[in-house]
Amino acid sequence: MAFVALGPQAPVASQKPTKTGRVALYLLLPGLFYLGLFFLTPLFSLILTSLKAPSATGVIGRYDVALEIGNYGYALGQYAPQIFRSFSFALIATVIALAVSYPIAYFIGVTARNRPLLKGMLLTLVIAPFFISMLLRTFAWKQIFSNDSWLLNTLKDVGLMGADSYIIGTDFAVIFGLVYNFIPFMTLPIYASLDRLDLRLVEAGQDLYANSVTTFRKITFPLSLPGVISGTLLTFIPISGDYVVASRDFLGSTDTAMIGNVVEANFLRIQDYPTASALSVLLMAAIVILVSAYVRKSGTEDLL
């Protein structure tokens, strides 16, 4: 009966997309709700806070709604070194993580492709750090790098380090910690790209007079670029805002403070909410600008 009702002239084709469109919309609702509640609302609140002025009552930690654009200038001026350091550290750590991760990802995705056991073991090793809290792992490094650790004592004994030199609190320690924490985020997307790489294309490159270096440069690397881009974004963005590794409680010192640490200090210790908010907004804006420039450039393959 239903078929008869529809009839041959029934505009099935035009009805169907509307129907699926509506279903898709319903399915999207939880996501939209989530985004509205947990992203847009805090963002709005953050921008609002970043423009507040100190309360007329003079009570510390109290602020009134205002349009104090000067907060941004103050934040920029006051914390320029930390902002610069954040992006420098993020850039350096991302580059090092890429250099370390690419060979690992290549080995798992290409070399070990036909050895499922080895491949599974290596992938597990890459993911293994996630089994332990990042805080604990970073703290473990603090122990290893601490002044009286066996590592430093050994290095000092063999003369590789000066007697009164140290690691904790240096740029090296912070960048090391950042690279260490974010390597899985770099390795996994690159692995996913290389795992799908059609090795016949590499053979075709060799067949067309390209040596192994050229084959890598012109074929393997460009074809793994989607993974490289996701990997670099997944490391660069969180590293820019990271406040754990560089904090004094972990591998950093006041000399290595990044934006995250400043935001944390302003929010939780100084209770300077407008400056902390302005810094957060600035960080977000900078990341959006940098990332969109990067993605656009890599999309046109100029990145090579």
Binding site: R200, A204, Q206, D207, L208, Y209, A210
Partner: protein, 376 residues
């Protein structure tokens, strides 16, 4: 650094090439010589070692033993990018991140040839795709991709062009068209072509010489007509076209002919067309050389006759019909008859005698094992 830009093809020589993989021998001491400028087909079922052979020539696989010579130079230890060889891969292996023109110019740029773009354009013109030069490979149809792959290989003017079942993914009509184009291009450029395929019609249609490969070695090699007319092994007889094979003890053998006793029937073959004259011998005939008769034909020493039998199956294939005739105590015989008149010539279930001229019989060097028919 790499080989010269040659104007013509060069000859290829394989000297006792062997390739062992863990647990099996893919190519078993293969000797082969392909003269310059020839269109050579390596034909065989999947797993016969033909693709491994091709990959060793391209340098993508290292032989376990033996030598590969191109134009007299030993290239066995050369890396693929140093060999004057280009390959049209089975699935084309076009670079998805490059335009059609960049794909075609890739090899030229690696060898630092002058005017790569111009040459790539010319190569695309040859395959009539110059208007698609700016497209990405995945925007092209299968046939177009195939032609890009061909242009990408040919533009380098390799001493030897390897074709790894390049037409396998195309539909029948396009495949026929590409076969004609490929052959025309080969004649035009005068390069040596080595074509690997499991399609016997394709091999016979295009190649000057066909080598039939099985279990890592060449069973028989020669011009397509010669191979078809006189297969020497049961495998070739069954793989290259179809054959009716009859096995029996040799009943008489002299300078003119050989006859076997096949279940009480005397089947003869000319002495010049048999490989073996003692013991059990397999005698065969092609189905289209065979005919059937509603009456028992008069006895004639120049004709082999079997029957009577019953038509058990008729398959219409367009230009001809394929008839299966079941002869009691003898077995099944296949006969092709052209549909020049009324089709079918006889009705299903009719009683017929089968006969063919003795001169069309061939005697094999081995006996059928029954496994040949599983071949593709």
């Amino acid at each position: 650094m790499s080989a010269d830009f040659v104007a013509r093809g060069q000859d290829l020589e394989l000297e006792s090439i062997r390739k062992e993989f863990p647990g099996f021998v893919a190519v078993d001491d293969l000797d082969l010589k392909i003269p310059a400028g020839e269109f050579f087909a390596l034909l065989g079922p999947s797993g016969c070692g033909k693709t491994t052979t091709l990959r060793m020539i391209a340098g993508l696989e290292t032989p376990s033993a033996g030598h590969i010579l191109i134009g007299g130079n030993d290239v066995t230890d050369q890396k693929p990018h140093h060999r004057p060889v280009n390959t049209v891969f089975q699935n084309y292996a076009l670079f998805p991140h490059m335009s059609v023109e960049e794909n075609v110019a890739f090899g030229l740029k690696q060898r630092k040839v002058d005017n790569p773009q111009q040459r790539a354009q010319a190569a695309l013109e040859m395959v009539e795709l110059q208007h698609l030069a700016a497209r990405r490979p995945q925007q092209l149809s299968g046939g177009q991709q195939q032609r890009v792959a061909l242009a990408r290989a040919l533009v380098n003017r390799p001493a030897l062009l390897l074709l790894d079942e390049p037409l396998g993914a195309l539909d029948l009509k396009l495949r026929r068209q590409m076969q004609i184009e490929l052959k025309a291009i080969q004649m035009e450029v005068g390069l040596t072509f080595l074509h690997v395929t499991h399609d016997q019609e394709e091999a016979m249609d295009m190649a000057d010489t066909v080598a039939v490969m099985n279990h890592g070695h060449i069973e028989q090699m020669g011009a397509p007509e010669a191979l078809y007319d006189r297969p020497k092994t049961a495998f070739v007889a069954k793989f290259l076209g179809q054959s009716n094979l009859f096995v029996g003890e040799v009943a008489e053998a002299d300078d003119a002919k050989l006859a076997i006793n096949f279940k009480g029937n005397r089947l003869a073959a000319p002495a010049a067309r048999v490989e073996k004259t003692k013991g059990k011998v397999a005698i065969g005939v092609r189905p289209e050389k065979t005919s059937f008769h509603p009456e028992k034909p008069a006895s004639d020493p120049a004709v082999n006759t079997l029957g009577p039998g019953t038509i058990t199956d008729i398959r219409f294939t367009g230009v001809s019909n394929q008839y299966q005739i079941e002869i009691p105590d003898v077995g099944e015989i296949t006969v092709f008859a052209q549909n020049v008149g009324k089709s079918p010539v006889v009705e299903l279930g009719a009683e017929v005698w089968v006969s063919w001229k003795v001169e069309h019989s061939f005697g094999l060097a081995d006996l059928p094992t029954g496994e040949e028919e599983v071949a593709e």
